[in-house]
Amino acid sequence: MSSSDSSSSSASDDPNPKLKPQPLESQFQSSLTLEDSDGVARTDDASVAEQQQEQQDEGSGNGSVDGVVNVEDNGHRDSSDREEGIGSGEARDGDGGSGGGGGVVWRRANSEVELEVEAPASPSSSGYAGGRGSSGASSASRADDASEEDEIEVVGNDDGGAVGAPDSQAEWTPGKRHVDEDDASISWRKRKKHFFILSNSGKPIYSRYGDEHKLAGFSATLQAIISFVENGGDRVKYVKAGMHQVVFLVKGPIYLVCISCTEEPFESLVAQLELVYGQMILILTKSLNRCFEKNPKFDMTPLLGGTDVVFSALIHSFSWNPAAFLHAYACLPLPYATRQAAGAILQDVADSGVLFALLMCKHRVGTSLKVISLVGAQKASLHPDDMLLLGNFIMSSESFRQVTSESFSPICLPRYNPMAFLHAYVHYFDADTYLILLTTRSDAFYHLKDCRIRIETVLLKSNVLSEVQRSTLDGGMRVEDLSVDLQQHTGSTSRVEDKPHTETPERIRESSLVGLGGPAGLWHFLYRSVYLDQYVSSEFSSPINTHRQQKRLYRAYQKLYVSMHSKGIGPHKTQFRRDENYVLLCWVTPDFELYAAFDPLADKALAIKTCNKVCQWVKDVENEIFLLGASPFSW
């Protein structure tokens, strides 16, 4: 791994990383960034001068040289197309004069892609692969994962990686793959799950596989199907053929299509298309509709230039992130006091004109991003889907991920207000932990920077960051613990606070290698708190330990979720389902939803009893696994 890793470890090792000099590689990285941005930057706006002036003032004010300020403008958006003026966000030359670590880089998103390509071992790609559930995986096992990725047939090395990236790398990179393919390729036709975005005139905007431009004919066919049915006064929802499903979603001038043979139910696929659309809105806002009103042949691809990674990472997450179908978010397990401390400082900041403040981290086993704390100003509430999309946008974009750097980017929260841009200030404290501050003001960068410094100081003082590190290492709830100490459990997830249990993680990890599960054949569970909009998922235990098995279980849960929530007649109350893979039990109440997976030979009565125990256990430790009292919807 490269710079980000070394700096992250130094950041975590050092109690006060802020005072530490920037590692050499990081400085190199940042100057590389500068060079890169030079290629596309312009210097023709008066605001630049202001910005630079401000920045210089600021820079001399606090003397901080702790990193590059990446202010990102995602795509070649024309400022006239925006709902809110973000002139300051327009791509600008950073006037490299400030040099080293102090420069503000106003960078364009497409340079991001180039950067990634030039640096094949980029922290983003490796970090991402590591983040998807193969902790400490060797590159061989990653290759294994990659081949599993939604494909029927392993298509050899006949296709290049992202934009001509060296193919020697076997890792899963979040960028676009198989660009050589088009609808005439057999390999393309056999991909398990396609996603397309096109305009209502049939122009391709995004395709998960293959080059959009080569797929123009195919896009036109999709458009023809949709408009043919529309001309008959109807709207096509899906088409089924064998194990294939073609799912359509029309959003004004934007058409979204998914072609899948993954056996996911229609309802799941349509929800995924909604999220893909939401991701596009997050980048561009809904005001793009106006462009189509003005010019139906409007070509949107340049606007989304370089954001392929964001979409492919989102689509990839549909196969492993329960948040995508549960419409809930997960929290990092933390001692109540620690989370309170983090919440207090975020609240403090929120009162000073920040709309939302989120402290997030990537979980060790990387099943999903986890929330440490989050706070909204006054009546503002954050939808779990928005959090998913925002988290994906930030985690998949290389430019945000430079540790100790700062980014400022316009984003839109589709569920909060699809028409308007907000501005996100993003800062990584270490490789996994980052802060997002959202504001409505485009000129708030330096204010947010101050806020971040205040937050960071408090987090360090109150040991929040080290607790976070400890928690990511320890992991969350384990089904094995349910059997071990049902009696002695005194309302704590032994992972989190207790010193006496320090050997437990090791012991458990060993035992899980041998293949214990929980009591009564319990393998895994998901618990969703309806009011909190949060869920908790147990750690994967044997025998659900390969990526393939985890994905299969995930799909089974997803199916169960749809079955329980079927439109018109749902939600059902309980469901027991036994097939050759699992016994699945689901229990939906107004307060919570429990999804549990057992050995297929599990005894019905014992399984039910175990589910009750799980619910009790979750209630006992809800102080630590959930963010209480700060629910985005409870104000």
């Binding site: 609808d183 036709r189 066919t221 023809a224 199907i225 043919f228 049915v229 008959g232 006064g233 109807d234 709207r235 096509v236 929802k237 899906y238 088409v239 089924k240 053929a241 064998g242 194990m243 294939h244 073609v246 072609i259 043979c261 056996e263 229609f266 199916k559 079955s563 079927s566 439109k567 018109g568 007649i569 749902g570 939600p571 059902h572 109350k573 309980t574 469901q575 027991f576 389902r577 036994r578 097939d579 050759e580 019905k604 009565a605 039910i608």
Partner: protein, 498 residues
């Protein structure tokens, strides 16, 4: 509702698109509309083949319509377009609708042979069009309630079209039936004839292949059984039906010359004095004034067989005699019939008496507290009496309908993923619906059980226990006897049933 049949091999050139259409209902729709339905269907068949070359388009689901596809013969497609009314919006049973298409096709093939062979016989398409129109119109008239076509919906989720329903008989009666079947087949003086024995609307024995059994059983229940003869309309659905097509029948007859036979024409079968059923559908024999015996096509052997049906009270016996074995047409057949009467009439009386004694009436297969459907090997089914199913709440039926969709998907998946290996899906799903009813599906070794328990207690264990009781005692016993039966009476195909 719209129903069309089209042949992708026809009308390939521009301007000749109309040539594709073999059938369209309603026929008075403008050609432009007909072509647009077929155009969309054809487009999606081509499109889906890009990704799924082996199984092209099965259904298009739109907000207001469902298009259900069935490739009846290679390149000959049947597409049904169903308007989603408010009620059926929640659960349109696509699989049940496809079974309707499958059924009408298999009935057509039974009497006319395959559509492809008919198209090859007469390439202009006029012949097949003139046959399809009255045939399907007659078939659809069975779905009429008032002036509306009542197609299968979630109300029918506790029944299975395209399966036979069997009578459970005791061992003694089974032996009696077996000996009757032997006598019947000997009477024809040839070894290659087949028989089908029905009591009321239930199958007692068959020596036909499973597919032919299903087609012929379906036809018998639609038009031949005492129930069908007396009601004049179908009996196998509990919905009240009136036939508004009557008024159009006259014009239909005039339009089509007398060459076109309408095997599904209502009220055209009657019981003759000799106990054999006769119909004027196929005209009368020039010489003897007796009505012509219909000929049917067997799917498995592609043999042409004379269909002779005999009825005594509730007992209906269908005897299929190879056309090739009868040299002088109706005369030869009447000899066979005489032979049957001489050899078997006593046995038939006895069998009828025995079966009547053991017959528990319409609610014979009702199990109190349970509303169920059992399907065996997708060919044999048994269900709670329709009148009892009607007592269920709409929510329960909707939930079951949805659950059946899920199970069908799992079955399909199991078939696709391991077509060679044992494709039987072991599955058990118990759902407690919002209204508190338990909706249950179990599949095991080719058997499927669907069940609604509305008055069961709250706990899953109790519900599971009830299912266990049901499948252990009732279902197993009943089906077990039914197997013995099938084995005894159809030694040739016993493997298929077992």
């Amino acid at each position: 509702m719209q129903l069309c049949i089209f042949d992708l091999r026809r009308g390939q050139q521009e301007g000749q698109e109309l040539d594709k259409i073999l059938f369209f209902f309603p026929a008075d729709l403008p050609f432009a509309t007909q072509l647009s339905v077929i155009g969309l269907s054809e487009g999606l068949i081509t499109f889906t083949r890009i990704f799924s070359p082996d199984a092209a388009c099965e259904v298009i689901e739109a907000e207001r319509h469902s298009h259900v596809f069935y490739e009846a013969e290679s390149d000959i497609w049947m597409v049904m377009v169903v308007d989603k009314s408010k009620e059926s919006k929640a659960a349109c049973q696509v699989d049940a609708l496809r079974k309707v298409l499958k059924e009408v096709h298999s009935l057509f093939v039974l009497f006319h042979g395959t559509m492809r062979s008919m198209l090859e016989k007469e390439t202009s398409g006029g012949l097949i069009r003139s046959h399809l129109y009255p045939f399907i119109t007659d078939y659809l008239s069975d779905f009429l309630t008032g002036r509306k076509l009542q197609l299968p919906s979630f109300h029918d989720c506790l029944m299975e079209r395209g399966t036979v329903q069997m009578l459970t008989v005791g061992r003694e009666a089974a032996i009696e039936v077996q000996s009757l079947v032997k006598v019947l087949e000997c009477s024809a003086g040839t070894t290659s004839c087949y028989s089908l024995v029905l009591f009321q609307d239930l199958l007692v024995s068959t020596t036909l292949s499973p597919d032919d059994t299903i087609s012929l059983f379906t036809y018998a229940v639609l038009r031949l059984t005492p129930h069908a003869l007396s009601s004049g309309a179908t009996s196998w659905s509990y919905l009240q039906r009136n036939n508004i097509y009557r008024s159009r029948d006259a014009s239909l007859d005039q339009e089509n010359n007398c060459q076109v036979k309408r095997p599904l024409h209502h009220n055209r079968w009657f019981r003759g004095n000799d106990g054999f059923l006769a119909s004027d559908i196929w005209g009368t024999d020039n010489g003897s004034q007796t009505s012509v015996t219909p000929i049917v096509y067997l799917q498995l052997t592609e043999e042409r067989m004379y269909l002779c049906a005999y009825q005594h009270k509730s007992l209906t016996i269908i005897l299929l005699v190879p056309v090739s074995s009868i040299l002088n047409g109706e005369q030869g057949l009447s000899l066979v019939k005489q032979q049957v009467l001489e050899n078997a009439s006593l046995k038939m009386l006895m069998v009828e008496e025995k079966l009547s004694k053991g017959w528990g009436g319409e609610n014979a297969y009702h199990v109190s507290g349970y509303r169920y459907l059992l399907v065996d090997d997708e060919r044999v089914s048994r269900a709670s009496p329709p009148a009892k199913v009607m007592t269920l709440a709409k929510e329960s039926l909707l939930a079951l309908s949805k659950l059946r969709e899920e199970v069908n998907l799992e079955k399909k998946r199991a078939k696709c993923s391991n077509s060679e290996v044992n494709c039987d899906k072991e599955l058990e799903i118990c759902v407690r619906a919002k209204n508190g009813a338990w909706v249950i599906a179990r599949t095991s070794r080719g058997k499927e059980l669907y069940m609604v328990l509305e008055k069961a207690s709250e706990t899953l264990l109790y519900a599971a226990d009830s299912v266990e009781k049901f499948s252990n005692r009732f279902a197993f016993d009943a089906l077990h006897i039914l197997y013995i039966e099938a084995i005894i009476s159809s030694p040739r195909y016993f493997v298929l049933y077992h």
